[in-house]
Symmetry: C2
Subunit: 227 residues, 2 copies
């Protein structure tokens, strides 16, 4: 499903160049459940942004579902994202002036889903994520963990083929975090490819495969051995 080959992403700050991704090779089959771990600043978000077509590579190639997406136009990338990718951002990026329910509904509207179906799905995910009484709140009227759950609900409501989650439990207590992960794992059981960046070692060990990044490179890429 995903093939990165020699993937490099450089950032220039003044005189300095940061090699946020440094010659990364990666293959992901459809339906895999992968945890991405590593120190702060090691390139995890940069990797996820590249895979999610939110950012372009400086060097190397990216094939998504066997199409070379490296050189596509912004419009083409936006279309693929809308149709195939759900992204949970490390800092959510909710739309401030829209209530939680409207934020969650937006991808369904962009996908052309009819109003009745949209309303039903939004109600269902609000329930799933423990937000049933918070649908009318705008992001600034929500707690940190509630915003995080709205971001996750928004990314999953279209049941995308590829779900990319950047630190989805970083602002959640143990219980809310477990609830969220169970939902994401159910989606993976249904065939959705799930890539999750996480700082939580317990969470990482629930995946089938763990990729560890250090300084923009993949240091290890192994199956997770369940004890």
């Amino acid at each position: 499903m995903i093939t990165l080959s020699g993937a490099t992403r450089d950032f220039v700050v003044g005189e300095q160049t940061v090699h946020a991704l440094n010659n990364v090779d990666l293959e992901v089959e459809a339906g895999e459940y992968i945890a991405i771990v590593g120190p702060s600043g090691s390139g995890k978000s940069t990797l996820l942004n590249a895979i999610g077509l939110l950012d372009r590579l400086s060097k190397g190639t990216y094939r998504l579902e066997n199409h070379d997406v490296t050189g596509l136009s912004d419009d083409e990338l936006a279309r693929i994202r809308r149709e195939k990718i759900g992204f949970v951002f490390q800092f959510f990026h909710l739309i401030p002036r829209l209530k939680a329910s409207a934020n969650i509904e937006l991808p369904l509207t962009l996908a052309g889903v009819d109003p009745a179906e949209r309303a039903a799905r939004v109600t269902a995910v609000l329930e799933d994520y423990g937000l049933a009484d918070r649908g009318h709140h705008r992001p600034d009227q929500l707690s940190g963990g509630q915003r995080q759950r709205v971001a996750i609900a928004r990314a999953t409501v279209t049941r995308p083929k590829l779900l990319l989650a950047d630190e989805p439990t970083g602002n959640l207590d143990r219980t809310s975090g477990k609830d969220v992960v169970h939902i994401l794992e159910r989606l993976n059981d249904d065939g959705i490819t799930l890539l999750m960046v996480t700082h939580d070692p317990e969470l990482a060990n629930r995946a089938q495969r763990k990729i560890r990044m250090v300084d923009g490179a993949i240091e290890s890429d192994k199956a997770v051995v369940s004890l």
Copy 2:
């Protein structure tokens, strides 16, 4: 140092009233090290914001260092915050157009510290928090955990009497998180009062006292028994 009495904070959203803080009584002595835990949405950030004078109570009183601060003007609250309180926000609130070093330096400038001393202190904290080569980066040129550490550096660089940290390790790997907590604990050893909201049970168990919140109320308030 801190006395909250009958502290209540209500939020109105449409027809609904959320009792984010519900009749909370709390006493904190100078120099204490307290963890605040509880489910997402239980009122932890609201409690910290009230203590940090970033938000006013709907009912009840707040005495800080034996002065009633409940009815003070915005200017008076701002002055007390500047002089006595360091706040690490759950979502950092860094100034987007300032580089990391300038973000960290700002409280020192507001406190009237001279330029040479400011430069020395900023350099020292950048080093402490593993950001020595990131001082020139703006927040949007930093990873999530790097931004978090800049927020912590900014809150601690003035060595405030009262340090309030809302989820200070939420975006940090285990190692960076430990480093940060060790620095905050050293400050507490030097007499700084430290209140930390955290979802990490291991972190919470390092404190001397643990306050658990549920639905806007303090459910328990106990000494932490070190095993």
